[in-house]
């Protein structure tokens, strides 16, 4: 795995004391890396510092210790190389859909004007299926449409890396599915590198190549990294037909329900924060197909 496009080394973040004693670090000793063209999701309970990590990757927040290196250079501040889709879409409400996108495009290519600018912006309006609404103001859009504008804005500057903070959390299931498919398509076509926060296990399995599991905070750590062994051409409609899907899903749910807390209280003895265990639950205890007749039934998962 070419895991060296983006490297995170020894990341830790402690917020200053409000009053009285200093709070513990939100997370500590975080190491991971993302390869070019890879889609990596991070999963963990709220408060474990996912957004903080994403903000540090974006350059919007500074770590208390550790470094982020992208493309051979240390990340010291925000950059047009890293496009961010904010959790609360963060559209400028006084600009129309089109102008919001243009706002970003003009920052990326200040010399563009006229036809190039127009066609580029329109391409990304169309990409997220908002043609017809490009002259509306954000207040006239539904939550899903706003989120799509945020996505179009981030994509339109064609960053080397996309950072998405629970981008589909506020959407209804139908819209979420549509946009997930759009994201998949874009990644397939452009080989986009993506780092994404989600709390939706299915979304993580559908979109990502690897899934980083965080223990509960404070002093959260990476418990393990799940490698998604489903083929990359997976689709929402038939993903569940693959028995691996249930194994991965059960593994993730089991982690969220109990192991994330247990591991926070008592870390695994042999854990090395520099090399968090990489697991492949999809391929675990591969039963011979003969004795697992009811293929639809979720296999009971027992990780030794």
């Amino acid at each position: 795995m070419s895991s060296d496009f983006l490297t995170v080394e020894g990341l830790s973040r402690t917020f200053p004391a409000r009053r009285g004693e200093a709070p513990p670090a939100v997370f500590d000793d975080i190491y991971f890396s993302i390869g070019k063209g890879e889609v990596v999701c991070i999963i963990g309970h709220s408060g474990c510092g996912k957004s903080t990590i994403l903000n540090i990757l974006a350059g919007l927040d500074q770590p208390s210790a550790g470094v982020v290196i992208m493309d051979g250079r240390e990340v010291v501040g925000p950059s047009l190389d890293r496009g961010v889709v904010f959790q609360g879409h963060a559209l400028l409400p006084w600009l129309s859909v089109r102008k919001n996108i243009e706002f970003a495009v003009r920052s990326r290519w200040p010399n563009w004007s006229g036809a190039i600018l127009d066609s580029h912006c329109q391409r990304f309006v169309d990409l997220v299926g908002l043609n017809g609404s490009e002259h509306k103001n954000p207040s006239a859009l539904s939550g899903g449409m706003k989120q799509r504008v945020g996505i179009a804005r981030a994509f339109s500057i064609q960053p080397k890396m996309l950072l998405l903070d629970e981008p589909f959390g506020a959407l209804d299931a139908l819209t979420r599915g549509t946009i997930q498919d759009e994201l998949l398509k874009i990644c397939a076509v452009t080989g986009q590198t993506v780092f994404m926060i989600t709390h939706d296990v299915d979304e993580a399995i559908l979109l990502s190549d690897r899934i980083i599991l965080m223990t509960n905070g404070p002093r959260a750590r990476i418990a393990e990294i799940v490698i998604n062994t489903l083929p990359r051409n997976r689709a929402r409609s038939d993903m569940h037909k693959n028995p691996q899907y249930y194994r991965i899903r059960n593994h993730l749910v089991d982690f969220l329900v109990s192991r994330s807390r247990d591991l926070a209280l008592a870390p695994a003895r042999d854990s090395d924060p520099r090399h968090p265990p990489q697991v492949r639950p999809g391929e675990a205890n591969d039963e011979p197909p003969a004795d697992s007749l009811p293929a639809k039934k979720q296999p009971a998962l027992q990780l030794a």
Binding site: G83, F86, A90, L92, A104, S107, N137
Partner: protein, 279 residues
């Protein structure tokens, strides 16, 4: 529903006007006082009329003055006799000059205070101390240092317009959504471009509230300031007509002050709608 409510309100307003005018009419009716007829010498002394006349104009007299004044609003017969339009023009010019100067000063400074917590804290004690001072209290200092009556009035307008614009700009800028600033940062926008393209439109509604309050105060203060400095302007006009004992003209001027104030407020209301956004 809203339509009929508006209509009812209009009827009620007109009714209220009718009641007021009628009360006014009743209160200023020329009355044949028994005392006057009982004392002919006194009556003779008072001008020989058999009816005592109140100093207050009747509605009819007022209407005549109103028509006459508005027929020639811009005549100029020397320093103490100018049309109402000219006097209002002087006042408006002073208010606009003082207000514009204040805006040019307060809005950029407000930006700095809003963007920098350090500057905000450093300036705050002075602002808190200066804000409650009546703008007219500055008048002697202004007259002494500037040595020009009209410029002193402008200075007083400047001072009183300053505070609402300053504090509203600072607050509007300081409370711009963090997300919007982060968008600008991730797009590597310069501080200058961020201020113009993100902070200014985001804070514009709050800034305009400050401008509207400032304008309201400025229009209140100009009347008093011109009464003090004299010469020209609607405030001086009121004072002059009081000295002439022409309550009709005073009343007329009071009404015009109200109308112009209303108009100024409407203008700023319209500007507010232009920069409003729905989040």
């Amino acid at each position: 529903m809203a339509r009929s409510l508006d209509f009812k309100a209009l009827i009620l307003s007109l009714g209220l006007l009718a009641v007021l005018v009628f009360a006014w009419y009743q209160a200023t009716l020329p009355q044949a006082t028994p005392a006057a007829s009982a004392n002919p010498e006194y009556t003779a002394l008072m001008g020989g009329n058999s009816v005592a006349k109140s100093g207050m104009p009747t509605p009819a007299e007022f209407a005549r003055t109103f028509r006459r004044q508005l027929a020639h609003p811009f005549y100029d017969h020397g320093p103490n006799d100018k049309g109402i339009g000219i006097e209002l023009g002087y006042s408006l010019a002073r208010v606009l000059a003082g207000f514009t100067l204040a805006a040019l000063f307060a809005i950029p400074l407000g930006f700095v205070l809003g963007m920098s917590p350090l500057m905000q804290r450093a300036f705050n004690p002075y602002i808190q101390l200066l804000k409650p001072i009546s703008p007219l209290a500055w008048m002697p200092l202004a007259l002494y240092t500037i040595k020009d009556a009209s410029a002193s009035a402008i200075f007083v307008i400047f001072i009183c317009s300053l505070w609402p614009m300053l504090s509203n700009t600072a607050r509007g800028v300081a409370t711009v959504k963090r997300d919007w600033l982060n968008v600008a940062k991730t797009l590597e926008m310069s501080v200058w471009r961020t201020a113009l393209r993100v902070i200014l439109p985001a804070a514009a509604p709050t800034i305009l509230i400050g401008m509207r309050i400032s304008m309201g105060i400025a229009w209140l203060v100009i009347v008093a300031a011109e009464m003090l400095v004299g010469g020209t302007g609607i405030g001086y006009f009121v004072w002059n007509e009081w000295n002439n004992l022409s309550l009709t003209n005073v009343l007329f001027a009071v009404l015009m002050i109200g109308l112009v104030g209303l108009l100024l407020d409407l203008i700023f209301g319209g500007l507010s709608r232009l920069v409003a956004y729905e989040d």
